[in-house]
């Protein structure tokens, strides 16, 4: 997941503590400021407690940095219960003295103020807790609760500022969480005291689809990405999906991958698609897009490589049955485990869930080739810009892993769809258009390579023949070429 390139370039600026949270270390160019406090805030249910706990758990588990979690809201028992569903075994970490949870119950509003006070009680608790387990990481969740429980005045503000100064002096990497108030500020405006690093989390629901976003509002002394990044709370915690163009210099793979149809390989400079690049097959309904995709999947498995096949329109059983009639028998390869088919409807989830799902499946199956058939249905889930951004991220992710992607898209001939095609085309390296044209008494399927970046390819429109013996391509009869 981590890209060393990013973190190395920024170590000169500032020491960073990796969170281990998928994607977050990439967009922060290496992690959170080590030994400094970071503010993570957002509305209710935005995921700030999860982010904070994951930072602690991964620190303890993966980076040998024990953590102290001070909760002003949920009790230790509640936290343990909530996080066990994310696969975080808090009790085990507590047992090993890698984690300590302190609870200060402020939720019941029982605190009566009678005169001046300081937050030294909390600071002593922090000192003691940090010393007890040798904590390198600290969470205060949430600071808002402290403000809510006490009367907010200049004295309290200066005490909170002093607390954060103490944190800096102590040199523990800290996450302080807060509630978002009006606009971009926290409810009690204490972000002014934590200018080291500020992350804003957002959770909105559009068209009944949940969308989570993370943005780095501020990161003093460090470069960072500035966009809003989609993130997900999955089975194993948070995943932030970094934008693609962080580095465009993917390794250039001069290698080629067979399309699975020798005649098509012929059309593509004799060798097929580019390895670790993206091929797009577009065409009208029934033009043979899925067949071309399946032929590619079959060829991959026959080479003994793994293939991951996303079918967004039909069930796996449906696809395999249809393909078998064309001599493309995928079932044996599913049985051997080389081919993994995943079938679901895009509308079933939000866009970023798809993205994360593709990433997770790719990690789990470790394929050399991925098929997405068809991607057109995604347009129903998000608007065009969002879809494009998600696809770009998927493409990028697969390229980084050296995976060859073949995606299909349905064209209808309508104006809108042509535009979509054009946009997609800029993202892919090879673009093959399937069509059909009238021929004497019937229609014949045609195939044409519109684009094949950096390769000598045929520009001719040829006939795509689908028979029980599989796919083949032949020249159109000369006398009909001008019809």
């Amino acid at each position: 997941m981590a890209h060393e390139k990013d973190s190395v370039s920024s170590t000169r600026e500032l020491q960073k503590a990796r969170t281990g949270i998928a994607g977050l270390d990439e967009i922060t160019h290496g992690g959170l400021p080590a030994g400094h406090p970071t503010l993570v805030y957002g509305g209710p249910g935005c995921g700030k407690t999860i982010l904070a706990m994951e930072f602690i758990v991964r620190g303890a588990r993966d980076f040998n940095e024990p953590g102290l979690f001070i909760s002003f809201e949920e009790s230790a028992a509640q936290l343990q219960e909530n996080f066990s569903s994310l696969g975080f075994e808090l009790d085990a970490l507590i047992e090993q003295k890698q984690l300590k949870i302190g609870h200060v119950d402020l939720s019941r509003g029982e605190i009566i103020e009678a005169g001046s006070f300081t937050l030294d009680g909390l600071i002593i608790r922090l000192m003691h807790g940090i010393a007890e387990i040798g904590a390198k990481r600290l969470v205060l969740d949430s600071m808002e609760a402290v403000f809510a429980a006490l009367s907010v005045n200049a004295k309290l503000r200066s005490e909170v500022a002093r607390l954060f100064d103490w944190v800096r002096d102590a040199g523990v990497t800290t996450i302080v969480t807060g509630e978002r108030g009006k606009g971009d500020s926290t409810r009690y405006g204490f972000e002014d005291y934590i200018s080291d690093c500020v992350l804003l989390l957002d959770h909105r629901i559009t068209d009944q689809i949940s969308k989570r976003r993370l943005r780095i509002v501020k990161y003093r002394g460090s470069s960072h990405a500035t966009n809003e990044f989609p993130f997900l709370i999955g089975d194993t915690g948070l995943s932030v999906i970094p934008i693609t163009s962080i580095d465009l210099n993917h390794e250039a793979y001069p290698e080629r991958v067979s399309t699975g149809v020798s005649d098509m390989d012929e059309m593509l400079g004799g060798q097929g698609y580019f390895k670790a690049k993206t091929a797009l097959i577009t065409g009208i309904a029934g033009a043979g897009k899925s067949s071309v995709a399946a032929a590619f999947a079959l060829a991959t498995c026959k080479r003994g490589e793994r293939c991951l096949y996303f079918s967004f329109e039909e069930s796996a059983a449906h696809v395999t049955r249809n393909m078998k009639s064309l001599g493309i028998d995928l079932v044996p390869w599913i049985d051997t485990g080389l081919l993994r088919m995943r079938s679901f409807r895009p509308t079933f989830r939000g866009l970023e869930e798809h993205l994360v799902s593709v990433a997770q499946q790719t990690d789990a199956h470790n394929p050399t080739c991925v098929v997405m058939d068809p991607i057109t249905n995604f347009v129903t889930v998000g608007d065009e810009e969002e879809v494009k951004s998600m696809l770009t991220r998927i493409l990028d992710l697969l390229k980084r892993r050296g995976v060859t992607l073949l995606m299909t898209a349905l064209t209808t001939g309508a104006q809108k769809s042509e535009e979509t095609e054009m946009r997609l085309s800029s993202m892919v390296d090879t673009w093959v258009v399937l069509d059909s044209e009238p021929a004497s008494r019937t229609y014949r399927r045609t195939i044409r390579v519109v684009k094949a970046r950096g390769m000598a390819h045929s520009h001719a429109t040829r006939e795509l023949v689908m028979s029980s013996a599989g796919l083949s391509v032949k020249d159109l009869p000369v006398e009909e070429m001008h019809v």
Binding site: E110, I111, E113, A114, S116, F117, T118, G121, R125
Partner: protein, 105 residues
């Protein structure tokens, strides 16, 4: 809250070092106890600088904090306890005069 003569008041005063604020808090609570709870209370002072682990039990975050452990329910009052009226009300001390006199000594 009723206040039986045999009822025992268990109070803790958490401080972080005997600072001037801590001394004021101690003097204030002692005066209040003497006036209203003579012979029915125990007051224990806990200096967190010496016993930091004890901050966890009563979930102390501010100092000074006065904790009323008994009678239940648990009550917490933070500050130097200079506002006697607030302390008396906060501790829920029923004084014979509390109905008419608003907490003045």
């Amino acid at each position: 809250m009723k206040q039986n003569p045999d009822e025992t008041w268990t109070l803790f005063l958490y401080v972080a070092g005997m600072t001037p604020v801590a001394r004021r808090a101690l003097a204030n609570i002692e005066a209040i106890c003497k006036e209203h709870l003579e012979g029915q209370y125990s007051l224990q002072i806990i200096d967190l600088l010496e016993q930091p682990a004890l901050a966890e039990g009563h979930q102390i975050f501010a100092v000074p904090t006065l904790v009323r452990q008994l009678p239940e329910p648990l009550r917490k009052i933070v500050g130097d306890l200079a506002n006697t009226a607030k302390v008396v009300v906060g501790l829920d001390i029923q004084t014979s005069a509390s109905a008419g006199q608003r907490g003045r000594r």
